[in-house]
Amino acid sequence: MANKSKSTRPQNVTPEMVLKYTKPTDKFLCPLSLNKYIEFLEFRIRDMESSKVVFEVKRPSVEINWKERDLSGGDELRTIAYTFPVDFLSYKTVGTTLVFAVCPEGIQNFRMIERHYFKGKLLKSFDFTFGYCIPNSVNTWEAVYSLPELTEKQVQEMVDNPGSTLSDSFYFVDDRLIMHNKASYSYS
């Protein structure tokens, strides 16, 4: 691609840039219409100690029409507000699973970066390179990780400040930002 107006084009958001962010972005950094590549099918959370799925969302199983996908719509489509039972803050180890479908053309290099913040402070950053994705494939990724023990005070602080736990998820195809989602988390 030509290098016209480098700084204003949203396509120029790079992984290196988002890895430096220290707080949630004010705006979405790319239009919804750029995602011609993937569709999320499922997301779930497992408490590893009991092996129980404690949270699950699934896309209704209707066939994806890649040629005529409706990519219009507002930012509410890419903003999710989760409310979890406060128990979630006591899990020692969790597994988060993402299932996604890939377009008929496949993807050469797919990468996800997710930044989690509490009260504007970075808590955790995920950076995962899926690399190549097979045309028309359905792929699953589970990340299993331990959570630190929170003090009662920290738990209370998170419960008392709904909407202060936020994340930005950035998805890159060949190092170009193609999707940006936001989420907020409350515990009650």
């Binding site: 997710e114 097979i134 494939s137």
Partner: protein, 185 residues
């Protein structure tokens, strides 16, 4: 993904290991991966792409990649070779002779891959719970494993259904990789 708040940052220099699980379709790759992670194994459908687990094992960060093994997608395997530290080759020990011959050929052609040259090789002779299953010694023979000079290899009989020997196998490959990494340091 990753919703829960993690206050502790991962260690900067955390070691990362990449394991690639391959084998013919129906060998039991996905069942093994789910079994060692304590997941329900009653509803597994054929893998139409990849299935990745990122987890911590013996102090290492493990990325295990299970890639579908149907003939139509085997040609995509090569896209996943880069940076592989360990190859887990899964065999259905009760498979038909012609499929076992396919299995031998696919394995030996993988071993010629330059990008897999440094990888440790674990062979899971899976489905040992079935009465018709060949022993791991017989699988070793049929797959002509003794001729392998280029890779550290190890074969172990296992069952994804009973869980027998799965962790022993994973332990072998992780330790083998780890000892090579230490030697390089």
């Amino acid at each position: 993904m990753g919703l829960l708040t993690v206050l502790k940052k991962l260690k900067q220099k955390e070691k990362e290991i990449r394991i690639l699980m391959l084998g013919l379709d129906n060998a039991g790759k996905t069942t093994i991966l789910k079994r060692i992670n304590g997941e329900d194994i009653s509803t597994i459908s054929p893998t139409l792409g990849f299935n990745i687990k990122t987890l911590v094992h013996n102090g290492y960060k493990l990325n295990i990649w299970d890639v579908g093994g149907q003939k139509s997608i085997r040609s995509y395997w090569r896209n996943y070779f880069e940076q592989t530290d360990g190859l887990v080759w899964v065999v259905d020990s009760a498979d038909r002779p012609d499929r076992l011959e396919d299995c031998r050929r696919e394995l030996h052609s993988l071993l010629l891959e330059e990008r897999l040259a440094g990888a440790s090789l674990l062979i899971f002779a899976n489905k040992q719970d079935l009465s018709g299953a060949l022993s791991y010694e017989q699988i070793e023979e049929l797959l002509d494993l003794r001729s392998i000079q280029t890779h550290h290899w190890h074969i172990i009989g296992c069952s994804a259904v009973t869980g027998a020997n799965l962790l022993a196998g994973m332990d072998w490959i992780v330790s083998d990789i780890a000892s090579r990494i230490y030697m390089l340091e």
